[in-house]
């Protein structure tokens, strides 16, 4: 792995995107009734911010993220990324990092990272060069020839992040990317992600169940309640960066986590 000092950004001027969600409503129709999954959700995410969505299961946070990725359509309301709606996936604007099992096991790490470029017919040499850069950025230089089953859980997620970043999209959406990892790896990956984010300057939207992870990573935390999914709080995290392990036991950290917990306890 690498230390912070010798990291170079993918491109010198950071490409970061803005996201605007306006009055988004999502209704699932079942035989007996209509279930409101998201109810009048509005929020604004400024370029370069690290925003975390938290909330109990069924609050629609992943659904909302999938809509920002263009993988799902809302019943009503609008979502724009960099000023334009996103009716279908657009890898130029949005990179997505999924949960652990999302790498293709039949491809090597570098082929996995190259996958989005291969779909667009980018030439082999250029693809390989970009994949190498992305793997280097996530601290996996020299691991390109390995298959996913030869990598640890944390390394697999590094490959997923590299795949999400390889096209240099202004927005990176992450759907519980560390949920399947053990506690130690999860902490390390949190620090790694913050390092990568600092190096690339992307806008990151990150979904998680973990309150500690939310406060530790975020500039802003958006708390959602279930059935119907609504935003119940939108708080700023004023903790300085870089974040350190010692902050976890500080009063400021505890107060923020408690505030989120009280919202979630109410709705759970």
């Amino acid at each position: 792995m690498q230390s912070l000092a010798n990291v170079t950004p993918l491109k010198p001027p950071p490409r970061a995107g803005a996201i605007e969600v306006k009055n988004v409503r999502q209704v699932f129709r079942t035989k007996s009734q209509d279930v409101v999954a998201l109810d009048d959700v509005s929020l604004e995410i400024k370029p370069g911010r690290f925003v975390v969505l938290v909330g109990p299961s069924g609050c629609g946070k992943s659904t909302l993220l999938m809509m920002m990725a263009g993988l799902r359509e809302q019943t009503s309301g609008t979502i724009t990324v960099n000023g334009a709606p996103i009716p279908k996936p657009d890898p130029n604007r949005v990179g997505v990092v999924f949960q652990e099992a999302s790498l293709f096991p039949w491809l090597t790490a570098e082929d996995n990272v190259e996958f989005p470029l291969a779909l667009r017919g980018v030439a082999k040499a250029e693809r390989r060069a970009k994949a190498q850069d992305a793997l280097k950025l996530v601290g996996l230089e020299g691991f390109g020839k390995r298959h996913p089953h030869e990598l640890s859980g944390g390394m697999k997620q590094r490959v997923s992040i590299a795949r999400g970043l390889v096209q240099d999209p202004p927005v990176l959406l992450m759907d519980e990317p560390f949920a399947a990892l053990d506690e130690q790896t999860r902490m390390t990956m949190g620090d790694e992600l913050l390092r990568i984010w600092a190096a690339t300057g992307k806008t990151v939207v990150f979904v998680t169940h973990s309150l500690t992870e939310a406060v530790y990573l975020a500039d802003e935390v958006i708390v959602m309640s279930p059935r119907p999914g609504r935003i119940v709080d939108h708080l700023q995290v004023p903790l300085p960066r870089p974040r350190t392990y010692e902050m976890l036991s500080g009063d400021a950290f505890g107060a923020l986590r408690d505030r989120i917990w009280r919202h979630i306890r109410k709705s759970a």
Binding site: F98, S102, L119
Partner: protein, 251 residues
């Protein structure tokens, strides 16, 4: 490495022991040599048979029938299996029915195939096809179901077209299961065709083996058994080798 080598040696030793036992039982007269000709005699007969034009012709007939049945059953079965797996409603309707059909011993339909097709090429190919298609349908269904939703979502999120999804996600996901299906289908196919030949036929290696049996030509009968066994094993091993080449990533 040492352990793998030992296992291989033990395996070879077992095969040699079986042939040695066969040879001894026959040579010492513990089993009547007219019932069980010795292994060495059988191999000599096998060499002799392989040079006979009539046997070569029988092998060609059987091979043609097997390949024809295979070429019909595999694509058609794969297509049906794919449609079933992709359509929820169709799957719910058809799956139990297929399992019912699969459980029936196919040999009981053989007389009907003779009534419909007469004795000849069409009857053997038809029965081989019938013996094979159900396993192809079922394996293809399993192969399609082995494609992970997560992988499809990833492809979609990076803007994959339908064709790209088919060739870059479906095909590699399904390949190991499909190759295994191909191998097992061939076992069913070969069994079907040879059974059809033994039951009623004028040519083919199955017919020849049945005739040798009826005429109490034990050497030829055993040589025929060895011949078919070797061909079946060779095909099986070739596909298995391709399988391991294609599925090294499976753990």
């Amino acid at each position: 490495m040492q352990a793998i080598l030992t296992i291989k040696l033990v395996r070879i030793a077992i095969v040699i022991a079986i042939f040695a036992l066969w040879e001894t039982l026959s040579r010492t007269g513990l089993v009547n040599p007219r019932l069980l000709p010795s292994a060495s005699d059988t191999f000599l007969t096998l060499g002799d048979l392989l040079q006979r034009a009539s046997v070569q012709k029988d092998l060609m007939v059987t091979a043609t029938e097997v390949l024809a049945a295979f070429a019909l059953a595999v694509p058609l079965g794969a297509l049906i299996g794919f449609l079933i797996a992709e359509n929820r409603y169709f799957a719910d309707v058809a799956k139990p029915l297929l399992f019912f059909a699969f459980s029936i011993p196919k040999s009981i339909f053989l007389p009907m195939f003779i009534l419909v097709f007469g004795v000849g090429f069409a009857q053997k190919v038809g029965f081989g096809f019938f013996s094979t298609i159900f396993i192809v349908i079922m394996s293809t269904t399993t192969a399609v179901e082995s494609v992970k939703v997560e992988h499809l979502t990833v492809a979609r999120s990076y803007g994959a077209t339908r064709m790209q999804t088919a060739f870059r996600v479906y095909l590699p996901s399904m390949l190991p299961v499909l190759l295994e299906a191909l191998r097992i289908s061939m076992i069913f196919n070969l069994t079907g065709v040879i059974l059809a030949e033994m039951y009623a036929s004028r040519d083919g290696i199955g017919h020849q083996i049945a005739t040798w049996g009826e005429n109490f030509q034990m050497k030829q009968l055993l040589a025929g058994v060895l011949m078919v066994a070797a061909i079946a094993m060779a095909f099986n091993e070739i596909v298995r080798w391709v399988e391991t080449q294609c599925s090294h990533w499976r753990t």
